[in-house]
Each structure stands twice: as structure tokens, then as C-alpha cells.
Amino acid sequence: MTGAIERFPPFRWTAAVLRRLGLGGRVLVVAVPFLWLLVFFLIPFLVVAKISLSEPAIAMPPYLPLVEWDGARALLTLNFENFAYLLSDPLYLNAYIFSIKVAFISAIIALLVGYPMAYYIARSPEPRRSLLLTLVILPFWTSFLLRVYAWQGFLRSNGVINNFLLGTGIIDQPLVMLQTDFAVYLGIVYTYLPFMILPLYANLVKLDESLLEASADLGGRPLVTFFHITLPLSMPGIIAGFMLVFVPAIGEFVIPELLGGPDTLMIGRVLWNEFFSNRDWPVASAVAIAMLIVLVVPIMILRSVQADKGEAA
């Protein structure tokens, strides 16, 4: 098959030309993914940074250029008003603090829900272990949007939970659950749970059983063994799982929009509204830059954890 590819004339000619230019296959193989990510991942952030410093305008695109040519020289106008605006209006600061709070608490809850599950799966004998693991991953393959929509049906005042509770006589007034902060926490824990369980599982499954046995032989009770051996050893998994929930949850848009109330303002939703409703691109860009600054530290922690794992493996 490859022979055919190599004999295919355009391939041969291209290869010959590249060799003439001193570009070996090696450079080319590096260059393709590198350039793609450079142009479509890194440079866009510079564009966002640029537009966050420009003045809004009623035009298409709705902002003024940073550099203007007045015939003799280029005038660079940096406009920090968008950032000053973010600081002056408590809406933005509150949305930031609220997003971090929601993401943090959700990640803690997901850890409490996910850790025992990951532990149980990792300790299960083989056919069952694979089956349970597949069951954890399966919801991740179905539509995220539809799973959030499913919770709407569960939580609304005439929804599944209220119908059940009213029907069994536990309550006589429907509970208000949809459009509350509670629903947002629930939605985030629900949708991100697989991201918590998988790294924890990957860590716990490698746990050396002999350490647990040694602890038991020395008279350590199960809880003591857990807190002195299992928990410290699974720390990389805990950090990775925590960050995989925490970081994307901060910028979450769909969950607060569909499950939260009108005042559940998370920063992703603020950015969305700023862009789509107010059409204020410079302020939306400033929100994005500010969000990135908040995210840099957790992303660095995650990367260093993953780098450690790479070296250990």
C-alpha cells in the first residue's frame, strides 16, 4: 500500500523538491501540527488581547483599530478602559468570584462522589471492572447538551422528582429546584463526574496491594490504612481529577444557562451575553483575558502533575 503512495508521482516530486530545499521529512512532520496550533490556537489569544485593548465602535467588526496611520507615522492607542470597566462594575467581579466558588465546590463534591466509585472499580475483578469503566465513560459519549436537558425534566416543578415526592406524599408543595444555584452544582457534578473518576481510577488501579497488606499486618485498621497509604498515594489522581473538573467548570456556559436562574451569572455566561447580546467585542475580549489570567495557575498545576506522571511511566 505504501509502495503505491511512494510511487505516486506528486508525492515523489514533492519529496524531491523538499529534499532540494534542505527540508527533510522530519522538519515537515514537526511543522504541520506546529503551524496549525500556532495559527489557530496561540495567535487567536494575541488577537483577543489586541481587541481587548481597542475601543468599541458601531461598525463591522465593532471595534476601532489599535494602530492608525496618520500619513507620517503610526499612532498606537492602547485603551485600558475595557479592563477599568470590568473593575468598576461589580457584576463582573461578582461573576468571577461566583464562578470560582461554583467550580471549586462542584469539584469537591465530584471528588467525594467519584473517589469511592473509582476505588470500587479499581478493586473489582476483571470482567466487572471493564464493564463498570465502560459505564462511566458511556455518558461522556452521549450529547452533553441532552444530558443537561434531561436534568431540566428531572428538576422542574412538574418534573420527575417532584412528581415522585408529591405522589408518595413526602411533600405537598413542589420543590423549586430548576433555576437555582443547586441545579447548577448538580449539573456540573453530573456532567464532569467521568473526568473525575477516570484519572482517579488510572491512579488507584496501579496501587501496590502489598502496601495495604503490610499496613494490615502491622495492625493498621482499614481507615488508618486508607488515610496513611491509599489517600497520599492517590494524590496525583486527585489533583488531576480536581483540575479536570475545576478548570472547564469555571468557564461553563450551557449549565448555568439551562439550569440556573437569571441571576446565576457565571463568567462564561457573562462573556456569551457580552458578545451575543450586547455585541461589545472589546469588553468580551477583556473578560476572556481576565478569565485566562485566573486559569493560568490551575492549568500550570495540572500540567506539572501530568508531566510527573509522564516521567514516572
Binding site: 496549525w36 459519549w141 450529547s143 447538551l145 444530558r147 468557564g251
Partner: protein, 266 residues
């Protein structure tokens, strides 16, 4: 093991939490009543309604095309990135490539979407391309974050790979390109299949990034679902969800079976 009964109950509750909403979606898709949560008798009328809705069908076709092209390009680019990172040792720009190929995994979607849109608008002003936005810009955006996922999947497969076969082929005088296509690709094929499916699903599922970078006339399926769901209850969405869940369950089942078989044979 002491306390494992408790652990088992906890785990069962966890799986009920994961699956109860999905099951209720499926059950109520066969509901006669328009109220999604009140049972009014068995009916398949919402499925009929779904297949007569031109908006849903049109957007599903667009989403399918976008996901197909995205998955294919993402596998090519992601595999190249993974190969370079695992096999090329040290080279200039390695740290940058590592960063750029992992950061999209955790980047909030609103930021990815906004930054790519602003890039496309600026590029159009500067070089006149892309002229307008639509399927092409969605594909570019999706490839960018999907290739990161493919790279992770392929990297772990490449890292655990025995290099004997490749070295033997080199010793016998095969050139690197030939070794790559004849030895490496077949050996990492399960990871490529998994990566392709992952990219396909991620692209099919994406609402936020596509909403930013799309243009008039290119509404993907999640955008149509989102606008319907935002307006209120729509039982035909339950029917759609059921179809998606059944297709996904079958696909995941087949993929698991295929990978187990190839793991046993390989």
C-alpha cells in the same frame, strides 16, 4: 475486604445518578402527552415529528459533515503531533508544541470560540480569507481542539509501543516514511480508531465553539437543540436524544469488542 458492602451500595447509587436522567429521557420519548414529565400513554409520534422537521434534519446533516471532516483531519494532525512528541526527542519548540497540544483540553469553550472568531474576522480583513463564516470555520475550530484529544490518545499508545518491529524494518533498509505507513500505522490503528470516534463525538456535540465561529445558514444540530430547549419543553428532543443514545451505545459496544479482539490477537 471490610466495608466493601457499603462501597458497593455507594457505587450503585453513583451509577443510578449517572443513568437515571438518561433513562427518563428515553422513557418519556415514547410518551403520548406533550408534557414531557406526565405519562399519557405509549406513542411513537414524536419520532414521526422529528423526521418531518426540516430544521432538525438539515442541521443534523451539517453537523454530520462537519464532524466527519473534523475527525479525519484531527486524526491526521493529532497523530503527527503525538508522533513528534513521543519519537523526536529534543527539538526547538518542543515545549511550545507540548503546551499548545494540551492546553485546548482544558481551555473553556467560550474562550476558544471567541478567540477563533476574532482570528477569522481579523484574517478576513487582512488577507480576505476565510470569506464569511460557516462550515469551513467550524471545521477549523473543531479540528483545533479535537486534535489535542487525538494526540493524547495516540501518545499513550505510541509510548507503550515495542519499537523492535520498526527497528527491524529500518535495519532491512526501509525508509522512515515506509516504516511509518507499513509498521507504525497498523500497530497504532486501535488508537487511531478511538481518536477518530472521540473527535467525531466531540465535534457533533459542540455548541459553544460552533455558535461563535458559525455564519448565516450553518446551524449545527446542537444549536437547533439549544434554541428549542431554551424556549421550553419539546418532546421531539427526547426522541432525538433516544436515537443518539442508542447509536452511541451500539458504537461504544462495537468499539469495545473490536479493541478487546485486537488486544487479544495483537
Amino acid at each position: 475486604m471490610k466495608g466493601s458492602g457499603l462501597l458497593r451500595i455507594y457505587c450503585v447509587l453513583g451509577f443510578i445518578f449517572l443513568y437515571a436522567p438518561i433513562l427518563s429521557l428515553i422513557i418519556f420519548s415514547f410518551n403520548e402527552s406533550k408534557l414531557v414529565t406526565v405519562w399519557g400513554g405509549f406513542s411513537t409520534k414524536w419520532y414521526g415529528e422529528l423526521f418531518r422537521d426540516p430544521q432538525i434534519l438539515g442541521s443534523a446533516w451539517i453537523s454530520f459533515q462537519v464532524a466527519f471532516v473534523t475527525a479525519t483531519l484531527a486524526v491526521i494532525l493529532g497523530t503527527l503531533a503525538a508522533y513528534v512528541l513521543v519519537r523526536f526527542g529534543r527539538f526547538r519548540g518542543r515545549a511550545l508544541l507540548t503546551g499548545m497540544s494540551t492546553a485546548p483540553l482544558v481551555m473553556p469553550e467560550v474562550i476558544t470560540g471567541l478567540s477563533l472568531l476574532l482570528l477569522f474576522v481579523s484574517m478576513e480583513q487582512l488577507i480576505g480569507w476565510p470569506a464569511g463564516r460557516g462550515k469551513t470555520t467550524i471545521i477549523i475550530a473543531h479540528v483545533t481542539f479535537c486534535m489535542a484529544y487525538v494526540a493524547v490518545v495516540v501518545q499513550s499508545r505510541l509510548a507503550g509501543l515495542d519499537r523492535d518491529l520498526e527497528e527491524a524494518a529500518m535495519d532491512l533498509g526501509a525508509r522512515p516514511v515506509r516504516v511509518f505507513f507499513d509498521i507504525t500505522i497498523p500497530v497504532i490503528a486501535p488508537a487511531l480508531v478511538a481518536g477518530w470516534l472521540l473527535a467525531f463525538t466531540l465535534s457533533l456535540d459542540d455548541l459553544v465553539v460552533a455558535s461563535f465561529v458559525t455564519g448565516p445558514g450553518a446551524s449545527t444540530l446542537p444549536m437547533v437543540i439549544f434554541s428549542k430547549v431554551r424556549l421550553g419543553v419539546s418532546p421531539d428532543i427526547n426522541a432525538l436524544a433516544t436515537i443518539i443514545i442508542v447509536v452511541v451505545a451500539i458504537a461504544v459496544g462495537l468499539a469495545t469488542w473490536y479493541m478487546r479482539r485486537s488486544a487479544r490477537n495483537g
